[in-house]
């Protein structure tokens, strides 16, 4: 509940009168103002504390959005343990109280990977074959949640989001695209999908209320290519080819304050798309923001406004 997505989901749930009580936890305080939600600051790696908190809350539904993308809010070493331990703790606490009838977990289309045997635009029937540590971490979350559903009979839905971006959302993709020079593949210009954090939050609430079961892809409308995304922000694409050049580009980007994790490099070199038609129809998601609109918004993030001494105007 501390991140952009979790706090927005909490706000949307607060607006619904049929929801009696909302409780959440995260290792950072909520980024938005919450009115009637209870929040407790717990690092997901504090497994017993988190499990006890969930068990004490006796929830009937769980939104587990505690998936930590490397170099977003967590470093690459802490992201995977936070994700897996947090999932085990949250679902373990739910097992103890045995009151949960539905669960929505956050996953991502990184689970599909971009190998030559994978479909270009996978739908939910495609077999996941993640090609990055983050993709494997997401798939583990899905498996833990599926095991929980099989054991308790709860309806479990894994929402596989396209990269969630928005102006203030910490994301390695958004950060990289804001660099003045952006490394891109010289050999291809693959397409990728994104989803705006607001659309993602609405999808979580819709999935929770609809009681969806199984995985669902949640992608924004349309797609953009990597070169196009760079030019939309007026940045300069820097064509890169070959593993040595990419390794160099990763180091330079790291020094520039925008590390490139493996799943982001995969996106830049092979693209990342998925078919979100099923979720769109079942959950009545309405009009979602177009990829280019979302990317343009990322670039419109206001630059630093210097504070000036007040001037006499009269």
């Amino acid at each position: 509940m501390g991140g952009e997505l979790g706090s927005r989901v909490a706000q949307l749930l607060e607006e619904r009168r049929e929801i009696d009580e909302i409780a959440g936890a995260d290792f950072v305080p909520p980024r938005r103002r919450l009115q009637r939600s209870r929040f407790r600051r717990i690092d997901p790696r504090q497994r017993s504390l988190l499990a006890q908190y969930v068990a004490d809350a006796r929830p009937t539904a769980i939104c587990h959005l505690g998936v930590y993308e490397p170099f977003a809010r967590s470093g690459p070493r802490s992201a995977a343990p936070r994700t897996s331990t947090g999932t085990i703790a949250a679902l373990g606490g739910a097992v103890r109280c045995a009151t949960v009838d539905r669960v929505v977990v956050r996953s991502g289309i990184e689970v599909y990977g971009r190998g030559p045997d994978q479909p270009s635009i996978p739908d939910e029937s495609a077999v996941p074959a993640p090609g990055s540590p983050f993709g494997r971490s997401l798939l583990e979350v899905e498996r833990l949640a599926a095991d929980f559903g099989a054991g308790t009979g709860a309806r479990v839905c894994a929402l596989r989001f396209a990269p969630v971006v928005a102006p203030h959302v910490p994301s390695p993709l958004g950060r990289l695209l804001r660099l003045p020079l952006v490394p891109v593949s010289a050999l291809s210009d693959p397409a990728f999908c994104v989803v705006h954090v607001e659309d993602a939050a609405h999808a979580v609430v819709a999935a929770l209320l609809a009681g969806c079961k199984g995985p669902r892809n949640v992608v924004g409308t349309g797609a953009a290519s990597v070169w196009q995304a760079v030019r939309l922000g007026g940045r300069v694409p820097l064509p890169i080819a070959g593993p040595i050049a990419w390794a160099g580009a990763r180091q330079i980007a790291l020094l520039a304050g925008s590390p490139v994790p493996a799943h982001l490099e995969e996106l830049l070199r092979r693209g990342r798309t998925a078919d979100g038609a099923r979720a769109h129809e079942e959950m009545a998601l309405g009009t979602m923001r177009h990829a280019q609109e979302v990317l343009a918004e990322v670039f419109e993030w206001a630059s630093v406004t210097p504070l000036r001494r007040a001037q006499a105007v009269a």
Binding site: S120, D189, T221, R231, T273, A277, M288, H290
Partner: protein, 226 residues
């Protein structure tokens, strides 16, 4: 890929060819990144920029029922020079103002990316299924005269399937492309496990008949004004 017109933006439709803009505006739009791209990597603004000036150089004749909108599959022979795919892209664009999605492109660096920009997708059943779900007109090319992969055509059984013969020669007294599209094959009930093999058998017969009708192997000669 939420709707057939999901990426229709910047005034350019992903499925239909609209009014062509001038080269200067097109290049300016490209430099600013303001052009639509779909999830397959198709780039209609790029297609218009390249194929727009190229299309009038070739004479094109397309006969038969090509649907003006909605998902459908055209099945044709790839031919020895493997030019049927690009020929169908050009011919249907010119005659019916639709952008087709050809299944299959050479897996060669750079060339594959260019093909994707022109609307080519991989020769895979799941990619064909995605194309049809998005409401596009797909083209599946037979690599061997006697063989159409039933697994490849499984997603097509619930859609309009049209056999076609592509020929090169003199059309309207100019070098060109002639495409004869046959009548649509009968539809099969959803979930019928034998639908794809039946479709393959029907296609084989229909394509053979179409080839005989068009005098197999002879160059197209069509008089001006026909």
């Amino acid at each position: 890929v939420n709707s057939p017109r999901a990426a229709a933006s910047f005034g350019i439709d992903l499925d239909r060819v609209g009014r062509l803009e001038n080269l200067r505006d097109g290049l300016r739009r490209r430099l600013a990144g303001r052009y639509p791209v779909d999830a397959f990597g198709a780039d209609p603004a790029f297609q218009d920029l390249v194929l727009g000036p190229l299309a009038p150089l070739l004479s094109v004749e397309v006969t038969g029922p090509v649907p003006p909108a909605g998902p459908a599959v055209i099945v044709a022979d790839e031919g020895p020079a493997r030019l049927a795919g690009p020929a169908l892209v050009l011919a249907i664009r010119r005659a019916h103002r639709r952008r087709v999605r050809v299944c299959g492109y050479p897996d060669v660096v750079l060339l594959a990316d260019v093909c994707r920009r022109f609307g080519f997708v991989r020769h895979r059943a799941d990619d064909l299924a995605s194309v049809l779900r998005a409401g596009h007109l797909a083209v599946v090319l037979r690599r061997d005269d006697d063989e159409v992969d039933a697994r490849m055509l499984t997603p097509a059984v619930e859609h309009l399937v049209l056999p076609a013969v592509v020929r090169f020669g003199i059309v309207h007294a100019r070098p060109g492309i002639s495409v004869v599209v046959g009548e649509p094959l009968p539809g099969w009930a959803p979930g019928d496990p034998l639908a794809a093999p039946d479709l393959v058998a029907a296609l084989r017969a229909r394509l053979a008949a179409l080839r005989v009708e068009q005098v197999d192997g002879a160059p197209v000669v069509s008089l001006p004004g026909r």
